[in-house]
Each structure stands twice: as C-alpha cells, then as structure tokens.
C-alpha cells in the first residue's frame, strides 16, 4: 500500500456476486468435499474447520476427520487469528552452560494448512492484519503461517443481530483474505477461485471440482444474507473516523464504559485485535524461553508506567482507545478498518458493551455535529511516522 500523500481509500469489497477471479467458478459436491478433506489429511495437511464446542457453540479446531466439521453453523467462539498469531508462541530459547550462553532458534515449522469453512469476516481480518504485520518489520512467524495456509471461506448467512459486516465495508459473502469462497448451493457449493493459492488447491484436487453450475439460487441466498445483516447497522466509517479525530476529548467518553469490567474478552475473541507482549520465562535453572503472548489495551497494566503513572487511568480511556485504534488510527495509518463486523465482542461481553450500538451512536453524533473533514492523509493525523515512504 502507499503511504504517500494520496487520500487512503477505505477498503471495500468490490467483488461481484457469482464472479471468480478470471471468471472461474467451480462446483464442489458435498461428497467431494468430504473426499477432498480426506485427501488433504492423507497428504499430511492440517485441516482446520469450525467444530462443535458444546452449548450450540463452535470453535475453529484441527480436524481428525471431515465428520467433525460443522460448516455453516454458528460463528466460532474465537476468530482465525490464533492460527497466525497464537495466544502464546516461543520465539527462541536460551541455555546456560557454565559461562556460555547459547541462544537456540525455535524452528520455524509452519505446517501446510487448509482452513475450511472460514467465515468471511475472519478471512478479511487476517488480510487486514497483514498490513501491520509487514509494516516496519516483517513478522516472520505471521507470514510463515500465512504462506503455509490456504483459506477456504464459506459465504455466511448472517448470524444474529450483532453482525454488522456490511457497515464496515464487507458483507456476509465477502472474499477479502480468502483464497477460495464457497457458497452453499443445493447439494454442494459454488466455488469461486480467488487467488493463485486457491487455484493450486483446486488444481491439485481437480477430480473433486466440477464445472460451475447455475449460480442463480446461491446468489439469491447471498443477497438475502446481505440484506439481513445490513438491517442491523447503518454506518459510514468515514464519518465516524472524522468525528473520532475531532472529538478525542468529547464529554461522551467520560461515560462510555460504565458497564465495562475491563476484562479483555472482547480483544480475545476479536479477529483483528493483535497486540502482544513479549516475556522471558526461565524453565529450570539453566534454560528458558522468550515468548510472545496476546495482550490487550483493556487492562490497566497495558499502559502502566514503571513510575506508577497510567496515561489511560480508567476504563473509559481504554474503550476510547479501542474505538480509536479500530476506526481512526488503523485506517489513517493503513487505509483500512481494524474491524470486520463479526460482532464477537458484543456477544462475548459479560457487561453488555455493544460495539454495533456504539457505532450507531457515533454515527448519530457525527451526523448531528458535522466534524471537520478528516485530515488529508496519514502523515497529518498519524501517531507514528511512516518508516521510509511507500511500500
């Protein structure tokens, strides 16, 4: 992306219904999908898909067999990010022998992985995070896993009233971040081939994929899903960004987080929250590991200084930060929103904080008090100076 003077374009999903890259649409019968998974597993590929997690919930987990997969059911409890940025990962180990200190590289073994039945909001989130992961420093573990992974998304029907992907430039059948997009159609799935990686998967198992069929009925389902989700929230992220930029000290922030416990469950389930902490942990007397772990701006210790001063003294300040990072700072810096509208934060919140509701309120504020136009480019509003121009 360019970080020059031009105005950042809010990323939108330009892909049209029923169209694949180069016009490629294939058909994958349900029986063939089962065989495809068996072939992948047989070849040692790790296959991840939503599986039952009890109480009507699902989680993305590694499959032992196709039978475990619950495609097109409930949105998994947590997003896909943990397959690219694990909750904890070892960066290297050290060992001391006498006076000598040895540093032991953690082998970068990224198993070939196919994520099957990814929700489009989760696939889009992974692509959004590529920006920050490759910005000033190329995050090798992240991109190592990215390269080893093929994401097969499945068009979503919309989950419930907390979905709002359509308000953040996506839709239930968005293709961003996906290598293939499946859309349920009768006895199988329409398959849109979106990337070379997706094409390689199709070509490598050509016998499984039939010629594309009439996508009419799939398109009807997809259009209905879009309409359903669009009813949940109408918002214009551009306007919200402008309002956030102009209203960092607005009085509404003082009461924004009354019900928030500061628990960080929202960040844990969020597909785009990606902050991490790095720690050294001794193991035994003579060795140890450096690890990086998920972290979240919702805890007091995230910003606590050694002096005891905390620049974000309470939960109101932390929620303001979360909204600003997602809807102002990241768009300013990287040209896209740090939110894909999955609604998990609202579903997970034990205190009833509701992001779509907050966005609706911000939209109203932005409409009623027209804010000055957003600053022209990243350079003006960015908190971090761009590292050496375009990339």
């Amino acid at each position: 992306m360019s970080v020059g003077k031009e105005k950042p374009q809010m990323a939108t999903d330009e892909h049209r219904l029923g169209e694949g890259v180069g016009g490629t649409t294939r058909f994958l019968a349900r029986g063939d999908l089962e065989k495809l998974v068996a072939e992948l597993l047989g070849a040692g590929t790790r296959v991840v898909a939503p599986v039952d997690a009890g109480k009507g919930e699902t989680e993305y987990r590694r499959l032992a067999s196709f039978a475990e997969a619950k495609l097109g059911a409930a949105l998994p409890r947590r997003s896909l990010k943990e397959f690219f940025l694990p909750p904890t990962e070892e960066l290297f180990r050290w060992r001391r022998e006498g006076e000598a200190l040895q540093l032991l590289e953690t082998p970068a073994a990224h198993v070939a992985t196919v994520i099957l039945g990814a929700f489009p909001c989760d696939a889009a989130a992974v692509q959004a995070l590529d920006k920050v992961m490759g910005w000033d420093y190329r995050d090798d573990p992240w991109f190592g896993r990215r390269e080893a992974t093929t994401i097969v998304a499945l068009a979503c029907n919309g989950q419930d009233g907390s979905c709002f992907c359509t308000a953040v430039g996506l839709r239930p059948d968005a293709v961003r971040g996906a290598d293939l997009l499946l859309a349920a159609n009768g006895e199988g799935y329409e398959v849109q081939v979106l990337t070379p990686k997706g094409r390689a998967l199709v070509d490598g198992h050509a016998a499984r994929f039939g010629a594309g069929r009439d996508t009419g009925s799939a398109n009807v389902i997809r259009a209905a899903a879009r309409e359903r989700v669009a009813k949940n929230l109408q918002a214009t992220p551009e306007k919200i960004r402008g309002w956030l930029q102009a209203n960092f000290e607005h009085p509404m922030w003082k009461g924004i987080a009354l019900r928030c416990h500061g628990c960080g469950a929202c960040a844990a389930v969020c597909p785009t929250c990606h902050c991490f902490d790095i720690v050294d942990e001794p193991e035994g007397l003579y060795e140890g590991a450096r690890r990086r772990n998920w972290d979240t701006c919702q805890t007091p210790v995230f910003t606590l200084h050694a002096s005891g001063h905390n620049p974000r003294p309470d939960q109101n300040a932390r929620i303001r930060q979360r909204l600003n990072h997602k809807f102002r700072i990241y768009p300013e810096r990287f040209g896209e929103l740090l939110c894909t509208g999955c609604g998990r934060c609202a579903r997970a919140c034990p205190g009833g904080m509701d992001l779509p509701e907050l966005l609706g309120a911000l939209e109203k504020l932005a409409a009623s008090a027209p804010a000055p136009a957003p600053a022209p480019g990243p350079a003006a509003g960015a908190l971090i100076p761009p590292p050496g121009g375009a990339r």
């Binding site: 628990c263 690890r291 205190g351 009833g352």
Partner: protein, 291 residues
C-alpha cells in the same frame, strides 16, 4: 418492575444516591444499566434474564465508577452475598451503598434467555436456592414467585464424575480445558470478590504466575485464583459466563466451596459479620494429611 423504576427515580430525585445500577434490556438480552438521571429510570427492568451480579461494580477496582457519590444497586438474594463479602473485607462501606433487593424466581443461564424458566434453562446456581428473598437490603421489591423449576445439581454430578477418574485422567481433563485459556483475565475482572489493587498475576518482578497462556501458567493461574477465592466465592457464575474459551470454571469454584464447607463448616453467607474461613482458624481443624 415499575416499583424498581419508581424507587430509582425517587432515590435520584431526592439525591439520596448519584447513580443507580440495575438491569436494562440491551441489544442482546438483559445487561447492566447505569442511571444517573431520574428521567431514565424507566429503562430499568427486573426479570428472569437479570443474570449479572451487579455487586462486581462496587469493587474498589473500578475507578471510573467513583465520583458519583453514593450508589444504589439492585441485587438478588445471591448477589447480597457478594456485597457481604466486600463489607466483610472492608472493601466497601455500608453507608456508601443503597441496596435494592429484588425478590427472585430464578434466572436463565444467560442474559439472552427467552421465556419462562424450565429445569433446562435455569442457571446452575439457582438450583436449591435459599435466598430468593434478599436479606440485609435497604429496600426489598417485588413479589416472591411461588417456586423454582427443580432439577438435580448438574455441577455436583459432573464433579463426582471427575472425582471417579484417576489422577492421570483428571490431569489430562484439566490440561485440555485449561489449554484453551488465553489469559484474557475476564474471569478475574468480572469477579465481584477479586478486589486486589494489583493482582498477583500482574506482578512481573518476579513473575509469580507466568503471563504466557500455556497450560503450565494456566494451571498456576486457575489454581491460585481458586485458592484466593476459597471461602469467598459466592457462586454467581460470572467467571464462567465471561470466559470466552468456555472453560468450566464453576466446577473448580464449587469443588473448593465443598472442601471449605466440609473442612471448616463454612457456607457463603449474606452476613458480613461471619468471619471468612481463610484468615480464621480453629485449634481442632483437621490435619489428617500432616505427618
């Protein structure tokens, strides 16, 4: 419901309190509600979706709720035990809070629950409830509903199942459950009795509990958390409800409560004068495990 709204409006109008914490209908079922203007009191509700233990908001760890002056809070009978815990440990002064007790006919296992309660959707902690009529409150509202749906204790049954396993199998079970923990700290944050200004798990020098969410640190965290809540946990179930990984934390809490009751004859109470079992002792306490 109406009497709750009227009382909240009265308390705010007369400036007896600066904030009323109750429940309201949110976008996803019931949720905590914060009313400062008497005109907004009409949004307060009290029904079988009011799962949340609002005593959590009285914890001293919530600086953004200071500055409202005295707070009125709606509590179910079971929630009063959490308030009693805070009073017992001098984390709260009784005169700083107005307790609005709500007579309770049980709650759903989730705030998004719909319809009447059944044996199936009743929250685990409501089974065998003895405090449906709240005690020690400044006001008590509502009619006491006739009875609760009845069923066996699921958690006790699950605990018994686990206890029938050998150590290796039980260790494997918890290892698997705890491996899903991402250490988001939701369990700690929503707990009305987790009141430490600086949690042991947040201390980094030395890092007594490693911050990495690997099973080793997760075991240390959840074991330590359970111990620190021994005799203090009021079984509101908020930790398990908040857990984004679906870990059955209530099983650990219930097990510890059973141990505390068996060994020290202590049951969680809404009487703040009863001393906490950890911190007290008796010469005749059992020591069959000590050589």
């Amino acid at each position: 419901m109406r009497d709750l709204q009227d009382l909240a409006a009265k308390l705010l109008t007369e400036k007896t309190v600066g904030l009323v914490i109750g429940w309201e209908a949110g976008p996803r079922g019931a949720r905590p509600s914060f009313v400062t203007d008497p005109k907004d009191a009409g949004k307060l509700i009290s029904d079988n979706r009011c799962v949340h233990n609002l005593a959590a908001y009285l914890s001293p760890r919530r600086p953004h709720l200071r500055g409202f002056g005295r707070i009125a809070v709606a509590v179910k009978g079971c929630d009063v035990r959490a308030v009693a815990g805070l009073l017992r440990e001098t984390q709260l002064r009784r005169e700083d809070v107005v307790l609005i007790g709500i007579r309770c006919g049980g709650v759903h296992d989730t705030p998004t629950g719909v319809g009447p309660l059944t044996a199936d959707n009743l929250a685990d902690r409501c089974v065998g409830c003895e405090v449906r009529d709240p005690a020690r409150c400044d006001h008590v509202l509502g009619e006491l509903p006739p009875s609760l749906p009845s069923r066996g204790g699921r958690r006790a049954a699950r605990i018994a199942e686990l206890e029938a396993l050998d150590h290796a199998a039980r260790f494997a079970f918890w290892r698997e459950e705890l491996s899903r923990c991402v250490r988001c700290n939701a369990c700690r944050q929503v707990c009305p009795l987790c009141v430490c200004e600086r949690c042991l798990a947040d201390k980094t020098d030395p890092p007594w509990i490693e911050s990495s969410p690997h099973p080793r640190a997760n075991l240390a965290w959840h074991a330590t958390r359970a111990l620190h809540l021994a005799g203090r946990c009021v079984d509101c179930g908020e930790c398990e409800r908040a857990c984004p990984a679906g870990i059955p934390l209530n099983l650990i809490g219930r097990k510890v409560a059973a141990v505390v009751e068996r060994r020290f004859g202590y049951r969680t109470t809404d009487d703040p004068q009863v001393p906490a079992p950890i911190g007290a002792w008796k010469p005749e306490d059992g020591q069959e495990f000590i050589r």
